[in-house]
Amino acid sequence: MNKNDGHVDSIPVPEHVDNTQFPDGLRVLAIDDNSVCLRLLEALLIKCRYKVAATTNAIEALEMLRQNKDNFDIVITDVNNLDMDGFSLLDIIGIEMDLPVIMISADDKKSTVMKGIRHGARDYLLKPVRIEEIKNIWQHVVRKSLSDPNKSVHYNRSNR
């Protein structure tokens, strides 16, 4: 069990993990059925020194998550034009896999943003996504682990 002692430098990760490198190596699953957007997203994530698995196929991504959800720290996904309903995807990732999920969309309608939030999205990024926004996604991993004190964040540098 991890406690946040309120110290600004302490990050709720298991003690044996070297958190001086965090959030380097954060394991991100990126989903976007538009291959141009996906390639860009992948490059942004890599530039932030995250580890990325990227796919245009949401159903495949779910399969991958179902088989080994402990392999990822966070999911970032577009919700439009997927091979399945994007908002259902948000539901499943949040509830079944209990992973923080970030929504991206080219649609800036307030109703779409609201819908995403209602379906559990931790954040909503408007395309084209900027590197400053991607740099910050690790905060959602930390926030989530703070709100789940019984679950430790499996940030594991041995994956490098």
Partner: protein, 177 residues
């Protein structure tokens, strides 16, 4: 043509894309992602964009031939096109996509078809310009290695001063003084 002239030409061409509204700052984001690990990133993504766009244009053309028009489907295709166009900073193409989607929302088939013709034109112009640009940038590189006896791994400080914006990483290895 001497090396500095070619570099200057490439830089001027690039600047004209921004000045004439063909590209916006998103293109600079792409350039900033290009580095030693990804030396051809910009061209790679733009090539991906051409491939994606060809497919989308075909889909839209087919959808526009149907009667009655399925505006939802058209809007869906155009949403995709807008997404990829905005990802590479294709400003004029993106604005045609937005216009098209307005006509879809209004159920205006005529407007859609007119805008689509305009969009195809803008896309073709941009594609031609970018192809020329990348070709020129590539030509400037290898020619250098052929003419100069030994490339050094230093960036020419003078050139950096004159050069606006993107220096393809390969250029860094072709200067010798």
């Amino acid at each position: 043509m001497d090396r500095n002239q070619v570099h200057r030409q490439v830089a001027l061409m690039r600047q004209s894309f921004f000045d004439q509204g063909f590209l916006d700052e998103q293109f600079i984001q792409l350039e900033e992602l290009q580095d030693e690990a990804n030396p051809n990133f910009v061209e790679e993504v733009v090539t991906l964009y051409y491939r994606d766009s060809t497919r989308l244009i075909l889909n839209i053309e087919q959808a526009l031939e149907k009667s009655p028009l399925d505006f939802n489907k058209l809007d869906c295709h155009m949403h995709q096109f807008k997404g990829s166009s905005s990802s590479i900073g294709a400003k004029k193409v993106k604005s045609e996509c937005t216009q098209f989607r307005e006509y879809c929302k209004a159920g205006n088939g005529e407007g859609c078809m007119r805008t689509f013709q305009q969009l195809k034109k803008e896309y073709a112009i941009l594609k031609k310009k970018l192809e020329t640009y990348f070709q020129m940038a590539r030509q400037a590189g290898p020619k250098e290695i052929a003419c100069r006896p030994k490339p050094k791994l230093d960036i020419c400080p003078d050139l950096e001063k004159n050069y606006v914006g993107w220096i393809p990483s390969r250029f860094r290895y072709t200067f010798s003084f």
